[in-house]
Symmetry: none
DNA sequence: GATGAATGAGGTTTCATTCAT
DNA sequence: TATGAATGAAACCTCATTCAT
C-alpha cells in the first residue's frame, strides 16, 4: 500500500492531464479538434496508454462532462443550504447556476456532444450513470426546494403540475438560454445585449407566473443576492 | 422551357434524394451515421456526384436544418395571421411550434450539431445566412406580436425589458425544453410524463409572470386553440 | 469563304492559346500541373471547347512537343545550309541547338512525358508520326554533315565509330547539359557561373577529341559564329 | 537486443518492400503510376501502414532517389581510391558511373521528378539535405581528381576553365546519354547499337580534347579498366 | 502497464471526360 | 459550336482503435 500510492498517484495525475489537454482541444477546435494522436504527442505518452485510462474518445468527453457536472452539483448543494424563504433559496440556485455557467461554459459544449446519440452510445454505462446522478442530484436539490415551498404555502401549484414539472420548466429555460448564449456569437446584433441578465429576469417572471411567494415585486433581489454570496459562496 | 425541365428536375430530385437518405441516416445513427460512402452506395451514384451537390458532410446537415427551419418559418408566419388579441396570437405561435416539434423532431438533432462550432465552421456562409434568416424571421414574427401587445396595452414591460428580450425568454424555454425532450429517453422515469404539455404550461406561466393580458386564468385556452386550428392550420 | 476566314482564324487562335497556357502549366508543375479545368478557367472558355480542339489531355502534350520540334527542325535545316568546312557547319548546328534550347527549354519536358508509355499510348498515331519525322530530320541533318566530313577527310573515325554515334555524343552532351541547366537553380553556388558557355566549350573539346579538322586551336570560333549568325540566322 | 531484432527487422523490410514496389510503378508509368492504394493492395498491407513509413507520396520518391544516390556515392568514393595517374582515376570514375547506370537506371526518373518544384516542395527538408549531400559528395570526388591532375601537370586548362566546369562537362555528357538511353526504346533503329560504349568513347574523346594526359591513344584502356575492376570493384 | 506499428473505414479532393441544352 | 453542370473513377490522407511485444 505504501508502495502503490506513488504509482497510483502518478496514474491519476496522468488521467487528469489527459482530460486537461482534451478540454483545451475541444474548447479550441470542438469535436473535430479532439485527437488521440495529438493528446499522446503533447503528453509524450503512447496512444495505448491513453486507452488504459479511457476506453474510447467518447469516454474522454463524458469524463469531462462529469468533471464539470460535479462542480455544478456542489454549487447547487451549497446554494440549497441558504437559510431563508423558499423563493430566496431559488435565487441562490440561480446564483449557483450563473457561477457555474460563467466558470464552466465549456460544459455546454460537452453536454451538446453527449446529446448526440451516436456519441453517447459509445460511453460506458458506468459513466453514464454517474452523469445522470449528478444531474438527478441537481434536480432533486431544486425539487426539494419546490416541495418545501409547496409544504409551507409559498407555492400553490395549479394545472395539476408536479414539483418535477416545475423543475423541468426552470431547467428548460436555463438550459436553453445557456446553450444559445454559449453557441451564438451574434446575440448583440439581434438586440440581446445582456442575455445572462435577461435569463435571470425571465426566471423571476416564470416564478412570479407560478405565483411563488414572495413575488419579485415584493423584495429587493439585489440585496438578497448579496446576502447569498456572503453566506453561501464566500469560500468559493 | 418544356425541354429544360427533365434534366434540371432530375438534378434537383437527386439533391432531394441525397438529403432524404442523409436525414434517415442521421435520425437512425446521428452524426457518425451520416456517411458519404453509404449515401453514394444506396443511391447508386458516385461520391463525386454528392460533392457536386454538397461540398462537405456538414453542408448536408445545414441543408437539412434549413429545410426544416423553412417549415418552421411558414408555420410561424401562418400562426401570426391569427386574428384576435395578442395573447391569443402568442398561443397560435405556441401551437405552430408544437406542430413543428412533433413533425420535425429531427430538426433539433441537426440544430444541435450545428451549434458545435467545428461543425458549423465547415458550412458555407451562404447557407449559414439562409439559416439565420429563417431564425430571424421567426424571431421577428414573435417580436412583432410582442410589440403589438405593448402598443395596445396588453403587455407592459417592467425591468426595462425590450421586445427582443421577451422573445429570447420564450425561445430559450422552448429550445431548452425541446432539446431536452428530443434527446432524453428517460424523462418518464424522472417524473416527467407529459413534457410537451408541461412546456406549454410553463409558457403560459411565463407570459402570466410578464403580465401579458388576458392572463391564462381569464380565458379558456383549449377553446382558443381549437379556434386557431380551425382558422390557421386547417390546410396544414 | 470570305465569311469563314475570320471564324477559322478565331478557332486557330484559340487552339494556340490553349497550347500556350498548357505550356506554362507544364513548365511550372510538370505533368500533374496540366489541368483541363484550369485551362478553361484561364482562357474563359468552357471545357467542352477544349475538347473540340484536342481529343484528350495527352494530345495537348504531343501538340506542344510537335510545335517545338518543328522549330528545332527548321533551325537545324537552316544551320546545315551554312557554306563552309564541315567543322564550321557543325558549329552552325551547335548555334542552332543553342538558340533552340534558349527559346524552347520546355521542349525537353514534353519529350520526357511522351517517353512514358501510358501517356504516349493515348496520343493519336497521326501526331506520333509527325513527331518522329521531326526528330529523324534533325538527326539526318547532323548525320549528313558527319558523313560529309568523313568523305572529305575532315574527320577520320577511329574506334569503329559510326556517323550516328558521333551525333549521339553531341546530342548527349547537349541534352544532359541543357536538362541540368533547365532544372537547377543553384549552379552558380557550385562554381558553374557560365554553364551554357561551358557546354559550348565542351562541344569543341569533344570535336577536337574526335580529331575533327580544323581543330578549335586552328581557327577563331567567335569569328565563325558571327559569320554564321549573319548568314544563316539573320532573319530568325 | 535479441528480442528487438525480429520486429524491427520486419518493419524495415516492409519499408523496403514499399520502396521496391513503388520503384517498379514509377519505372512503368511515371509519377501518376505511383499509387498508394495499389501499393497497399499488392503488399497486402493497409494504406495507413504506408503512411507510417512515408508521410506522403513524394517522400517515397525522394527515398528512392536517396537509396540509389547513396549507392552512386559509394561507387564514386571507391573509384577515387584507385592508385594511379589522374586520367586512370577518371577512368575508374567512369567505370563506377557505368556500373551505377547499369544497375540503377531508374535513378534518373526519380531525379527528374524531384526537379519539379511542386513535387520537391512536399518532401521533408531532412531527406532533401541527405539527397544534396550525396550529390555534392560525387561532384567533390570528381573535382578532387581534376584538381590533382592540374596540380601534377596531367591537365592544363585553357579557355579559363575551372575544375568545376570540367566536372560539369563530364556530368552533362553522362547525364544526357544515360537519360536518353534510359528513356528510349528505339535507339537501335536509328543506328545506335552500343550507346553505352559510345558514351564511354565520347568521354575519352572529351578528356583527350581537354588534353588530359595520358591521351587515350597513349595507353590501353581495356587493360587499365581490368586493373580497376580487380582492385577497386572486386567486392562489389 | 506501456508502447507504437498496423489497421482500415471513410472523408475529401481532384480531374478527365461526357452530354443535354 | 459553345457551354458547364454532371459524372464517377481514382487517389490522397486522417484517425480511432487494436494488439503483439
Amino acid at each position: 500500500m505504501v508502495d502503490l500510492t506513488p504509482k497510483k498517484l502518478e496514474i491519476q495525475q496522468r488521467g487528469d492531464r489527459i482530460l486537461s489537454i482534451a478540454r483545451s482541444m475541444i474548447v479550441d477546435d470542438g469535436y473535430h479538434g479532439l485527437n488521440m494522436d495529438r493528446i499522446a504527442e503533447q503528453l509524450e505518452i503512447s496512444k495505448g496508454t491513453i486507452y488504459n485510462h479511457f476506453s474510447c474518445k467518447e469516454e474522454i468527453i463524458i469524463a469531462l462532462a462529469i468533471e464539470t457536472a460535479e462542480k455544478r452539483r456542489s454549487l447547487f448543494q451549497a446554494a440549497a443550504q441558504f437559510r431563508g424563504r423558499s423563493r430566496f433559496r431559488m435565487l441562490a440556485i440561480g446564483e449557483a447556476d450563473l457561477r457555474f455557467f460563467q466558470e464552466h461554459t465549456s460544459h455546454f459544449e460537452f453536454e451538446r456532444m453527449l446529446r448526440i446519440p451516436s456519441i453517447l452510445e459509445k460511453t460506458s454505462e458506468k459513466r453514464q450513470s454517474v452523469m445522470q446522478m449528478c444531474e438527478a442530484a441537481c434536480m432533486q436539490v431544486v425539487g426539494g426546494i419546490v416541495r418545501d415551498a409547496i409544504a409551507n404555502g409559498d407555492l400553490e401549484l395549479t394545472n395539476s403540475m408536479t414539483a418535477e414539472e416545475v423543475v423541468f420548466g426552470l431547467w428548460s429555460l436555463h438550459y436553453g438560454a445557456q446553450s444559445i448564449i454559449a453557441s451564438s456569437e451574434n446575440l448583440d446584433q439581434i438586440g440581446l445585449h445582456r442575455p445572462v441578465e435577461t435569463m435571470t429576469t425571465h426566471t423571476a417572471m416564470l416564478l412570479d407566473g407560478l405565483g411563488w411567494l414572495p413575488l419579485s415585486t415584493e423584495f429587493d433581489e439585489n440585496e438578497v443576492i448579496e446576502q447569498i454570496n456572503n453566506e453561501v459562496f464566500k469560500n468559493v
